[in-house]
Structure formats: structure tokens, C-alpha cells
């Protein structure tokens, strides 16, 4: 795209060198202007701004989801509960809150691989995965994964086992989805904590195996 629009948009360098991107600078100015106005009007407490981002960065994120997955791999009873009532099982581990009020856990199997998207905006299970990565919110991912999930998985470097069907979950209403990956082979002697280390965020979105 940078080449396509070079003539008319010289500063834009397509994902690289964003620090000197006029689009980026314009956005920064715009956000700052709004912040100054709403703080001056008393609509927002600047310390609340800090605290909410710190909350997401400290207390949410894929480590939460990985702990859920590792426990499900290790504890069949918990796994049953998780698949029956994801929200309650996840709440029981202390993970809860906005965009995690209604979580459904989908189990990958040798027959079916599952992958999650939000084609209409960027719905994502914040308490267990944190805030969504940029690619998840991109037009390319949102447009393509529903139509050609197999090509998309390839672009993520994920080789789908032969004979596996793909099911895409579009997060169109209030339920948020967490994928329970297939437990890797030869991990029988790992502890729950060691298992959690194997689990990646993309594995819980469905764009990686684990």
C-alpha cells in the first residue's frame, strides 16, 4: 500500500517507521486534544485513565487463559465444567469482568479445529486473553477468516492436520469465545504450571495449534 499511495501520502510507510507517520502524529494530537477537553470539563479523572489501562495490563492477558487451559488438560472434572459453563468455571479461577461476562469454551479435537473472529468489530474475551492484538482487529483478518479459514491458518504458519474440519466462530452477540487447544503429545509428566507455559494466545484464538 505504501507504494500504491506513495505519490499522495509520502509519510505513510505501511506499518514501519510509524513514529514519523503524519497519520500517527495526527491521531496522537487528536487524542490529546480530547483528553484535555474532557479533563478540563471534569468528565474524566486523569488518574482513572491510568488505573484502567494498568488494570488490563497487569491483571488480564493470555496467562489467565493459559492457566484455564492447563487446568482443563490436567483435571477432567474441571474440563467438563469449563465446557458446560465456561463463565462459571473461569470465574472460579478469579478471572472475570467486562467482555468476560459470558464466555463459552470450545474444544479443539482431532476432527474439528476452531478459530474465533469478530467480523463486525473486535469482540474478544478480555479477562482471559487481555486486549486484542492488532491483527485480530484488522480488515484482512476479519474479512478473510470466515471465507477462507484454511488459507488464513496457513498464513499464521499453522499446518492443519489432514482430515480435520474447520469451524469458525463469529462473535456477533454477547458471548465471547475461548478455544481449548488439543493437549500436545508427550506432555503427560508436565505440571499444570509447565503445561500453561505451552499455551499461546494464538492457540486460544485458534490461529495456532496450542
Amino acid at each position: 500500500m505504501s507504494k500504491q499511495s506513495k505519490g499522495s501520502d509520502k509519510g505513510h510507510t505501511d506499518g514501519h517507521g510509524h513514529e514519523h507517520d503524519p497519520l500517527e502524529e495526527g491521531a496522537a494530537l487528536r487524542v490529546r486534544a480530547l483528553e484535555e477537553i474532557v479533563v478540563a470539563k471534569g468528565l474524566v479523572d486523569p488518574e482513572a485513565l491510568d488505573s484502567i489501562v494498568e488494570y488490563y495490563e497487569r491483571e488480564t492477558g493470555p496467562r489467565n487463559g493459559a492457566a484455564v487451559v492447563a487446568r482443563a488438560w490436567s483435571d477432567p472434572e474441571f474440563k467438563n465444567w469449563l465446557l458446560q459453563d465456561g463463565t462459571a468455571a473461569i470465574n472460579s479461577m478469579g478471572f472475570r469482568g467486562v467482555q468476560g461476562e459470558h464466555i463459552r469454551v470450545i474444544e479443539n479435537t482431532d476432527e474439528t479445529h476452531n478459530v474465533v473472529v469478530c467480523t463486525l468489530c473486535s469482540c474478544y474475551p478480555w479477562p482471559v486473553l487481555g486486549l486484542a492484538p492488532a491483527w485480530y482487529k484488522s480488515p484482512a483478518y476479519r474479512s478473510r477468516v470466515v471465507r477462507e479459514p484454511r488459507v488464513v491458518l496457513e498464513e499464521f504458519g499453522f499446518e492443519l492436520p489432514r482430515g480435520t474440519q474447520v469451524r469458525v466462530w463469529d462473535s456477533t452477540a454477547e458471548v465471547r469465545y475461548l478455544i481449548l487447544p488439543v493437549r500436545p503429545a508427550n506432555t503427560g509428566d508436565l505440571s499444570v504450571e509447565e503445561l500453561a507455559q505451552l499455551v499461546t494466545r494464538n492457540g486460544m484464538i485458534g490461529t495456532a495449534a496450542v
Binding site: L34, A40, A48, R96, W135, F156
Partner: protein
Amino acid sequence: MDGIHDMGGKQGFGRIAVEEDYIFRSAWQRRAFALVEALAWSTPYNTDQHRHAVECVPPADYLRLDYFENWIVASEMLLKEAGLVDQSELDDGRKHFDVDQKSHAPVGVHEIVDATKAGADLRFPEDTQSARFAVGQSVLVSHTQAAGHTRVPRYLRGKTGRIVSDEGVFQFADAVVAGRGPDPQHCYTVVFSAQDLWGEEAQVGDSLCADLWEAYLEPA
């Protein structure tokens, strides 16, 4: 609304920037996220309304601007509509008039974190609404397209699927944004065959699930 945000199945967006794995790339993105979250407490908009405001960003801007800049554009729209900020203030970044502090008190440091941890249950008791459809039933997604906010993607309209589960009774996003109140109704997970959605380019056996409110569905 058949808007630019309704991306499912659109072609021409190129490869996925898998390497863009960050949540925030710049300090202003972090700040933009926090602003939108905090403003929801002191001003009259909820998540559904903010989502719809993002959908109303002019399409050329929607595609060109950063994700978080679109969030801010949407918040500006909502604040202007509510009369809490005006364009001249956004133009020069300075306050030109005061707002009533009593009805627009800012959220506190602990209050915002506590409420975020608690979340907002959008369900209603199951027995408050009867369910029109049962698990296993075939359903047709309505062709009729709401002019305003709606959560049925374009690529599912007119398609036939099967009810996989009844997720319970939820407030209805379309109604909330249209100002018709929560209009609580059952919301179902519906499965579609990929070939029914995309024709023969899709692989036999592949499928797609989406959660659809009862108002979107008709018996097939």
C-alpha cells in the same frame, strides 16, 4: 446497517499482518483506550452505542485511520450529540463551556477498576421470555436489514442454518441503540455449512457458528 465495518467475506484486503501482534504500539493508543472506557461512565453512551458510532465513521476514514483513532472519532461524535463537547473545542483542544458536574461526575480510580472487574451481565432470567426455536431446528436468517445498528453480518442474511444452542435471554443490541429499551430475547448459536455460505470454494464439512438474536431468525 450495511456498513464498511461489516467485513465478513469481503475480498481485496490482502494478507494478514501476523507480525502486528501488539496491543498498543504508541502511548496515544493506550490513552485513547482509557479515554473511551472512562468516558462511558460520565456520559450517556454504552458499549453498543459506541460500537454503532464507530460504524458511522465515514468509510474512507474507517479504513484509513488507526483502530483506536476510530474509537476516538466515535467518542467525539457521541459527546457532540450529547451536547457535552462542541466542534470548536475539538478544533482547538480547549474547553469553551462547562457541563453540569452533578449529572456527569467522572468515574473514580477504584470505581472504574471495580466495575471493570465485575462486568455487566446482559442476561435476563431465562423464564422471562419463551423460546421460539429449539436446538436442532433449521432457521433462515432474515433478509431484512436494520437501517441502524445490527449484529447480523451481511454474509449470513438469507442463509439457512441450524440451532446449536440456546444461549439464554439477553438484551437486544439493535433495540438498545435504536432507543427501544433492552427488548430481551433469546439468543442462539447457529451453525452454517461453509459451502452454503461461500459456495464450492469452501471445503465440504467446514462450518461457521454465530450467535443470533431471535428477531433475526425465521423458521426455515
